[in-house]
């Protein structure tokens, strides 16, 4: 009897513990993914800096939209970094295209310990900010700064996904002289790091190709009245007028060129190669030329799909650098994925060695952090749009 009575509670106990174990097991099964989700998510905070107020706000917003599109895509893809699900956040900042504001914002992002920075838009803000990011050990990828100095300061953290002014200036100089047959060229720039840098490179290349620079005039990146300098330009009777600066000046300048009866066409760099230029220049736009690093959006694999998605999401047309801002985010994410870490020390080497099929190009960086084999395309304004003339150099995405 005794064994029987004693066995009863034992059986009960066994049964209870089995039940408990099972229950626990069930609970474990249910809880494990939740716990893994919580523990295995890694939040990546990316800073984005561009002018969101002021004359170039439309370009800044365009960059930010491009970056946001990339962030949304990455979050939807549930990218794994070191076995954890990556959750990307964008901290959008406004530098007003002002170098002083640029450094203030850069310091703010450095203090917030962001994982990487996409930006800035302008060379003038990118260069002083790059030192702050370098000192804070933060990777910076600019989608649009073209002044060569940016990547030639010896900062390992500085990258760009856009051809620089040396490449662009020399292509433009050659194009002006050999293709457009310009012998007397007037150069205007807006005295920013970008405009001046590009104008200087163009000046060199045009002279090397045999042209004479008849005058160099200057304006600012906030001016809208160019009557006085264009009058001066007119007196030198140039075959071509080159402007190093952004669309907000280039558009009105092209219009005022016509009211002053100057027949020479204008040539611009990437800053004026925008949709906005046509709106600003009106009927004064036709016949002018511009260059843009990279291949035309239509020729990018997935370019037209990107345009449609952008339009659907923001109900606006791409201005200029949005695809590059998109790629800037993607390469940072890709490097983090390959390194399996969001620490600069770990993913910086992966970024430097990256070979990634981006939207805009096959992206590989050289030892300075510049994109290798950046293509440059020349456009002419026709009937309210830029139509591509020819693409020089570069490598299409694999």
């Amino acid at each position: 009897m005794t064994p029987i009575t004693s066995s009863r509670p034992l059986t009960a106990l066994v049964a209870l513990s089995a039940c408990l174990l099972a229950a626990c097991g069930q609970k474990d099964d249910a809880a494990a993914p939740a716990a893994a989700d919580a523990a295995a998510t890694v939040t990546i905070r990316l800073g984005h800096v561009a002018p969101l107020t002021g004359p170039q706000a439309h370009l800044g917003k365009d960059n930010e939209n491009g970056a946001r599109l990339a962030i949304d895509d990455l979050n939807a893809e549930k990218l794994l970094i070191g076995g954890k699900v990556a959750k990307f956040e964008l901290l959008g900042e406004d530098d007003q295209a002002d170098p002083r504001q640029g450094t203030t914002v850069a310091q703010k992002l450095a203090d917030a310990h962001v994982n990487a920075v996409i930006g800035h838009l302008n060379s003038g803000t990118t260069i002083p900010a790059s030192r702050i990011y370098h000192d804070a050990g933060i990777v910076q990828v600019s989608p649009s700064a073209t002044n060569p100095t940016y990547t030639r300061q010896g900062y390992k953290t500085a990258f760009r996904v856009f051809a620089d002014d040396v490449q662009q200036g020399s292509v433009l100089g050659g194009f002006a002289v050999t293709k457009l047959g310009a012998k007397k060229i007037a150069i205007i720039d807006d005295r920013t790091a970008y405009g001046q840098g590009l104008a200087d490179e163009f000046d060199k290349a045009a002279k090397a190709a045999g042209a004479t620079i008849v005058t160099r005039e200057y304006t600012t990146d906030k001016e809208t009245d160019f009557a006085a300098i264009l009058t001066k330009v007119k007196s030198t009777r140039p075959d071509l007028v080159f402007y190093g600066g952004m669309d907000t000046q280039a558009g009105p300048m092209a219009r005022q060129l016509r009211t002053l009866n100057i027949g020479a066409p204008m040539l611009f760099g990437d800053g004026a190669c925008t949709v906005e230029f046509h709106k600003l220049a009106g009927e004064g736009a036709d016949g002018h030329y511009c260059s843009l690093p990279g291949v035309p959006l239509d020729q990018m694999a997935g370019g037209s799909a990107f345009r449609d998605r952008y339009k659907a999401k923001y109900n606006a047309d791409i201005q200029l650098y949005a695809p590059y801002a998109y790629d800037a985010v993607r390469v940072v994410a890709e490097a983090m994925k390959q390194a399996g870490s969001v620490d600069t020390a770990k993913f910086l080497p992966a970024l430097a060695a990256l070979n990634y099929p981006g939207l805009t190009a096959q992206i590989q960086f050289d030892e300075k952090g510049d994109i290798r084999d950046g293509a440059i395309t020349l456009y002419q304004a026709k009937g309210g749009a830029w139509s591509a003339l020819e693409t020089l150099g570069g490598k299409a995405p694999n």
């Binding site: 107020t53 009245d225 009927e283």
Partner: protein
């Protein structure tokens, strides 16, 4: 030579616009002793509201000049309302406050208006549709368009009308009396508050015209355009002697012509050491020189004959 003529024409057009805006500064200063820094933003609101109206009217197929005139006629009351409101809300409560308070308020109003415009009209540049003939007439090798001729003539006409209003009408006499001594003017039965409101409304109306002129001539308007323009017009008013109507006109025209000539010749004069982007520096340099030798401006007297 034709280049010199062209630069003077450029300067005359720019100067006419400066003069119209400068009148707004000088009238308010004459009566209140207040520098209404928000005046530049009123110009901006004039330009943008005219553009909005013009944008709505363009599809109607009316002739270009009619559309522009309609835009102008809408912009003027809008700006007058803005000017009136600014004075009521921001300056009247501070009428007896220390001088610095309304000055700071003026800067605050300027920022508020700019931000409101940014929210309403967006950050993009707005373009002035091609409604007016831009065919250039040749004047001794220089080019001048119909629009530029209209700008200079309209500005001259408005200034003449203003001078007549201030010197020949009952209201003008009330304005001059309020400028001279508000307390005594009040004792003589002048409704000083009404006169001040009227001054703001009048200045804002001129600002609307100037705004449409800027937008039409440079074909661009945006929410931040008022700041620099306001600063230049203020400079013009000081150059001519702030508080003095004739001074504002002279100052405006001079500043416009100095800027144009500086942009055209500064490079040659300094052997390329200073480029054309130093034109503003040059304009302010002239201002400093004038103020050193004539501290109350070109036409200002020790006790300025205020508007």
């Amino acid at each position: 030579m034709d280049i010199l003529i062209q630069q003077i024409i450029n300067g005359l057009v720019l100067g006419s616009i400066y003069a119209l805006v400068a009148l707004g500064y000088t009238m308010v200063y004459g009566i209140l002793g207040l520098i209404n820094f928000a005046h530049g933003e009123v110009v901006m609101i004039g330009a943008l509201s005219a553009l909005t109206a013009i944008g709505l009217l363009v599809p109607s197929g009316l002739p270009g000049p009619v559309v522009v005139l309609a835009g102008l006629l809408i912009a003027i009351p809008v700006c007058m309302a803005v000017g009136f409101t600014i004075e009521r809300i921001a300056y009247r409560p501070l009428r007896n406050a220390p001088r610095l308070a309304p000055l700071i308020t003026a800067i605050g109003v300027s920022i508020v208006l700019q931000q409101l415009a940014m929210m309403g009209w967006g950050r993009n540049y707005h373009t002035f549709p091609a409604l007016l003939s831009v065919t250039a007439h040749k004047v001794g090798g220089a080019a001048i368009t119909d629009l530029q001729i209209i700008i200079v003539l309209t500005a001259a006409l408005l200034m003449a009308a203003l001078v007549w209003l201030v010197t020949r009408t009952r209201l003008g006499r009330a304005m001059r009396a309020s400028a001279e001594n508000p307390a005594v003017a009040r004792l003589m039965g002048v409704d000083v508050d009404r006169v001040i409101s009227f001054t703001f409304v009048l200045g804002s109306g001129l600002a609307a015209v100037a705004g449409v002129m800027v937008a039409a001539n440079y074909s661009i308007a945006h929410y931040a355009m008022g700041f620099m323009l306001g600063l230049k017009a203020f400079t013009a008013a000081v150059l001519g002697g702030i508080g003095n109507l004739g001074g504002a006109m002279l100052g405006g025209l001079l500043l416009g012509i100095i800027e144009s000539l500086a942009a055209g010749y500064i490079g040659d004069l300094t052997g390329g050491f200073l480029g054309s982007h130093y034109k503003d520096v040059f304009a302010f340099f002239v201002l400093i020189l004038v103020l050193v030798f004539r501290p109350s401006g070109l036409m200002g007297e020790k006790v300025a004959e205020r508007a």
